[in-house]
């Protein structure tokens, strides 16, 4: 009996090892056969009842055998790729059980792999970097610095540059501008982001209609989400008290807080100059707040405030009340946390500086980066009727823009799909938990943000990707290439292992 490896096309009528591109270990004499009719003394003989293992190491292209769990040492070196496990039988009635790992191996292969994983990692760790007088360190610092600049962490970038004696290539103002736009995008305030971009980089979006289109699609999605600034002003809630705004837990109504809460809404609504848009809806809202000031919870207010008249949104209405229910029943724990926070903070502030505090925070919200969106109460366009109308109108504009784009630049399947996906959100009673709901996830803002950022940087003749990201991409691609070329060590190295 011979156990070994063969390339494709090797004669299957002969024991492995005898022919070209085949390798074998034979039980009768214990010899190893390396593509040759004459064997070399290799290991012990084997016979009925013995468990013979054959392990090909794709890192160093060697092969060793095991007998009953004991490694017999390397049998072949410089093996070609693409070999198949082969067993050759020559005695009539011989029986072989093959185990490709479906049962535990007698030999501890896991332990063997552990050793190689450690070896590969040590090889990476000790890779010679040819350090000439701090060259390596300088390069690393440059990479870090450019990364910070790229993503607009200007304060950190400045501090880092100062402490490492570097110059930042981009002007500080420029970084801040980009950062401002990025914050807006990440906060879901796409309308403002687009507007700001147009102000600061007048020709950018004109020259990039596809980019503008994708930004607008994102804006539409944010409208559905209730986070875009255009619908937020219509939402009947100040950014402070609005549920989808992450800062809001602070001002969530704990029962004792209701009076101040109600007052805040009034003051905010007027200060925003949006109360007039609300018509009857606004009054019911504020009524709700006031009438419930004693001990009613916030969700009741919500419930009342949603008495919409738009017929086609009836189903939404229904679903909304369902959400409220589900919120009260299942999310209580989470909310309780917010309560305690709220209580703790507001108890000290009290009524006295309530409004002044809000003014302050209002200013803040322009610059504050809020990536998160609150998942507790999700309502279409933040629950405002006017906002929904605005969203639908915007959708029509978007449709028109898409048609125009197609006329001017020809068909674009990416754009088409993008728009279709965005519009699909409206087909569901609860867009967030719909199959296309992941578009609403704040994390989806990041690619948009990054594309916009790169586009801006390109206009400044700066790399559209930071070198750090480039290096990471390069490393990942290399690993992929290694895998395709059959270089086994890539199995024990991933880029993620080095990102902590």
């Amino acid at each position: 009996m011979g156990i070994g490896l063969s390339a494709q096309g090797v004669n299957m009528n002969r024991l492995p090892g005898w022919d070209k591109h085949s390798y074998g270990y034979h039980g009768d004499d214990g010899h190893s056969f390396c593509s040759s009719g004459t064997g070399q003394p290799y290991g012990p003989t084997f016979t009925t009842g013995d468990v013979i293992g054959c392990c090909v190491n794709l890192i160093n292209n060697t092969c060793f055998y095991t007998k009953n769990g004991h490694s017999l040492g390397i049998a072949f070196t410089d093996l070609p790729p693409n070999l198949y496990p082969t067993v050759g039988l020559q005695t009539p009635g011989e029986v072989v059980d093959a185990n490709f790992g479906q049962h535990p191996f007698v030999f501890d292969i896991e332990d063997y792999m552990r050793e190689w994983r450690t070896k590969i990692q040590a090889q990476i760790d000790r890779f010679p970097i040819g350090d000439r007088e701090g060259e390596w360190q300088t390069m690393i610092q440059k990479m870090v610095s450019s990364y910070l600049v790229h993503h607009g962490y200007c304060a950190t970038a400045e501090a880092f540059a100062r402490s490492t004696d570097q110059t930042v290539l981009e002007e500080l103002a420029s970084i801040k501008n980009r950062q401002r736009i990025q914050r807006l995008v990440l906060a879901g305030r796409m309308g403002e982001a687009i507007e700001t971009t147009q102000q600061l980089y007048p020709s950018l979006l004109e020259r990039n209609p596809n980019l503008l289109f994708s930004l607008k699609v994102r804006q539409f999605i944010e409208m559905v989400n209730g986070t875009d600034s255009e619908v937020r002003c219509l939402g009947g809630h100040s950014p402070k008290s609005q549920d989808s705004y992450p800062v809001s837990p602070r001002s969530f109504s704990s029962p004792s807080m209701s009076p101040s809460h109600g007052m805040n809404i009034h003051s905010l609504a007027t200060s925003k100059g949006s109360s007039t848009h609300f018509s009857g809806f606004e009054s019911s809202c504020s009524n709700g707040v006031i009438s419930n000031k004693a001990h009613q919870s916030y969700c009741h207010i919500k419930h009342q405030s949603t008495s919409l008249n738009v017929p086609e949104l009836n189903n939404i209405n229904v679903s909304r009340s369902q959400q409220v229910n589900s919120y009260t029943s299942s999310d209580v724990d989470m909310e309780t946390d917010h309560y305690s926070n709220g209580v703790a903070e507001t108890s000290s502030n009290g009524f006295l500086n309530g409004s002044s505090k809000h003014d302050h925070e209002m200013e803040e919200c322009d610059t504050e980066m809020e990536v998160d969106s609150n998942h507790l109460r999700r309502q279409l366009c933040g629950g405002s009727q006017a906002a929904i109308e605005r969203m639908i109108h915007f959708g029509r504009e978007l449709q028109a823009m898409s048609e125009q784009l197609r006329r001017e630049c020809g068909k674009n399947t990416t754009n088409k799909k993008m728009l279709k996906d965005a519009f699909s959100l409206l087909a569901y009673s609860d867009p967030w938990s719909s199959p296309v709901g992941n578009q609403l996830d704040p994390i989806q803002r990041e690619p948009v943000c990054s594309v916009l950022n790169s586009a801006i940087l390109e206009t400044h003749n700066l790399p559209k990707q930071p070198p750090l990201a480039l290096a990471m991409g390069q490393a990942s691609q290399c690993l992929g290439l290694m895998a395709r070329s059959g270089i086994g060590s890539c199995a024990f190295a991933t880029v993620e292992d080095y990102l902590h």
Partner: protein, 651 residues
């Protein structure tokens, strides 16, 4: 001072010469000194101890150890840690006598108590323990194929002291410490505690740490991604526990984990020290178990791998670099002796493995060279290897002869220290076996004189080997050799050996006598010159309190004497002996009965001159009656023998 001496041996020596040590010790011992001051003193002293061995000697001369041990009683942890660190440095130096740790009986319990204080106390204390519990010559100890273990007197005592103070329980949980250094030192401690100590080993197998048995924890530390030092030390722990009988040799943790780990340590990729330790530990693990020897012999081409041990240094370094040369030479010796030891263990029992070893490139040349190496360690292990291989009849007839190994072996036997002599002489025993072609040249080179002198050694093992070799030499030897042996040994010495307290010596001496007294002319010749003394000795032994084997051997000598032509008369005229033979014919032990019967058969054999008179005489003393009785015996051997004897009477 601290900053001045760090890393500067010259400054350290200067400070010591200037008398800094007593002053520092004074400040360290002053109760009124602040803790900071006392701690700094301990740190400076520790730094001085890090220097040369002479520095450590100077510190020891100033009685630094009692002062530091006293410091351990302080309530201040920082100061305790500094004292322990300094003690650690001193005790790990080869010039420090381990006994100093045990001088005061309260020290060990106090150290055990300090183990809970911090990870530093844990690390230092474990390190102190593992250095102060060492057996002297523990490598040669770890390998005792000779009947006499080379144990030093205080080794086992230290183990017992530490064990009795709860070392196992106190140190076991440190194996799960978050600090690698603590885990490592705890592991080392266990390897030292378990060595050749069944009591400790038996306790260790049952100790639980975090719900896991200690052997399982050791096995985890063998994992191939663990640091080599950790793999090697835990393999040592498991090896020692196995050799001490606490883990079976067929346990998976030995055959699938410990053994392969140790084989891996012999790989060329490992450091020289690791290869040496790996091979030595593996040699110890498999020394007495043929199954482990077989597994090791097929694992990772071990036998071929060991031949790399002889290829160091690969390039001869420039003579100008004396330091490097010295370093290379030392390592070369260490590697070679380790490889010889492992070969010796591998080939101890299995003929196929021996064959494989000898077929390794230049194997016999390497052994022959090893026998004349300057390093005694190498010579000793080369002899061991040769000894192990000499158990093969085939090799004795072929490779041993081709390479004339007897020559360097005889050389080794001249003026060698006892430990070498023991192994070399027992190798000689094998080379003197009758089928060995080396026998003749060995005799010609004056072996008899050498072996006779060995029989007078104080060392029991040497006496056994000496007389054993003579016994082999006398087997079917020619008259001249026998005469030479008798002359060389002298009758007095022969009688001395017959009254040796050791039964082995006695047995081999009787064996020698028996071999001398074979073939009729030789028997008559020897009995004519030494008959009286021999008969006396035989009587003495038959009367004495000896075990069955000894008496059987003695009766066989009588049977041989009875085979002589003239020698027969010495028995026939000795009524006392005849009565004794008669007595043993009816003995309860069948072996003795059979041996006595051989005597009788030889005496009454028909075709020989005077057989009629002897038959009559023996009938008169009642032998025939006994023969009749024995012919009815249920033992087929006895029965046959008795019947044949009776037939002599009928003819």
């Amino acid at each position: 001072m601290k900053n001045a001496v760090i890393g500067n041996n010259k400054q350290k020596a200067n400070l010591i010469v200037l008398g800094a040590v007593p002053r520092l010790l004074y400040l360290l011992q002053q109760e009124t000194s602040s803790t900071e001051l006392r701690t700094e003193c301990a740190v400076v002293l520790g730094s001085l101890a890090m220097g040369t061995e002479n520095n450590v000697k100077s510190l020891l001369d100033c009685h630094i150890i009692p002062a530091l041990l006293q410091g351990l009683l302080s309530p201040e942890l920082k100061f305790i840690e500094a004292c322990l660190r300094c003690l650690r440095t001193i005790f790990t130096s080869p010039v420090t006598p381990e006994e100093l740790l045990y001088a005061d009986a309260t020290v060990i319990p106090h150290l055990m108590a300090l183990l809970s204080r911090s990870r530093y106390t844990q690390e230092y204390i474990c390190q102190i323990f593992s250095h102060c519990c060492k057996l002297r010559h523990w490598h040669s100890c770890g390998f005792k194929s000779s009947p006499q273990p080379l144990l030093c007197a205080n080794g086992p005592d230290h183990q017992t002291i530490l064990f009795n103070h709860g070392a196992v329980q106190n140190i076991a949980h440190l194996l799960s410490s978050t600090s690698y250094k603590v885990r490592m030192q705890a592991l080392k401690c266990f390897s030292v505690l378990a060595f050749e100590n069944p009591q400790v080993s038996m306790t260790l197998v049952n100790v639980l740490v975090d719900g896991e048995l200690l052997p399982q924890i050791f096995v985890k530390m063998l994992q191939r991604d663990k640091p080599i030092e950790m793999q090697l030390t835990s393999a040592k722990c498991l090896t020692y526990m196995c050799r001490a009988g606490a883990i079976r040799t067929d346990d998976n943790c030995i055959i699938l984990k410990t053994l392969p780990t140790l084989v891996r340590m012999c790989n060329k990729e490992r450091l020289l020290e690791e290869r040496v330790e790996g091979a030595e530990t593996l040699a110890y693990l498999i020394e007495t178990d043929v199954e482990l020897q077989r597994i090791a012999s097929i694992t990772d081409h071990l036998i071929a791998m060991l031949s790399d041990y002889f290829k160091y240094p690969s390039s001869v370094s420039a003579i100008t670099d004396i330091k490097r040369l010295d370093h290379d030479l030392k390592h070369a010796h260490e590697l070679r002796q380790a490889a010889f030891k492992l070969y010796a263990s591998l080939g101890a029992n299995d003929e196929d493995i021996r064959k494989k070893i000898i077929e390794t490139e230049n194997m016999m040349d390497r052994i022959v060279n090893g026998l004349s190496e300057s390093s005694i360690k190498v010579r000793l292990s080369a002899v061991r290897c040769l000894h192990s291989l000499s158990r093969s009849v085939q090799q004795l007839r072929t490779s041993f002869q081709d390479h004339a190994v007897w020559k360097p072996l005889m050389k080794v036997l001249q003026n060698a220290p006892d430990e070498v002599l023991v192994v070399a002489s027992s190798t000689l025993c094998n080379l003197l076996l009758e089928f060995s072609p080396s026998k003749e040249p060995i005799l010609e080179s004056g072996a008899i004189e050498l072996l006779c002198s060995l029989t007078q050694s104080e060392n029991l093992a040497l006496r056994v080997n000496g007389i054993w070799a003579l016994m082999n030499m006398a087997f079917q030897a020619e008259q001249k050799i026998k005469a030479d042996i008798l002359r060389g040994l002298s009758t007095e010495q022969l009688f001395q050996l017959l009254s040796d307290s050791d039964v082995n010596v006695l047995m081999k001496t009787l064996g020698l006598l028996r071999n001398l007294l074979s073939t009729r002319p030789h028997i008559d010749q020897i009995m004519s010159t030494h008959g009286k003394q021999i008969m006396q000795a035989v009587t003495l032994i038959l009367e004495g309190e000896h075990n069955i084997e000894v008496k059987e051997q003695t009766l066989c000598i009588l049977a041989n004497i009875a085979d002589g032509t003239t020698a027969k008369e010495l028995i026939m005229t000795n009524d006392d002996i005849l009565q004794k033979i008669k007595y043993y014919m009816s003995h309860s032990n069948a072996k003795l009965q059979l041996a006595a019967m051989f005597c009788i058969s030889n005496l009454i054999w028909n075709e020989e001159e005077g057989s009629q008179e002897r038959q009559d005489k023996l009938r008169d003393i009642g032998i025939v009656d006994i023969l009749h009785k024995l012919s009815q015996s249920s033992d087929p051997n006895l029965c046959d023998k008795a019947k044949t004897a009776l037939q002599q009477y009928l003819a």
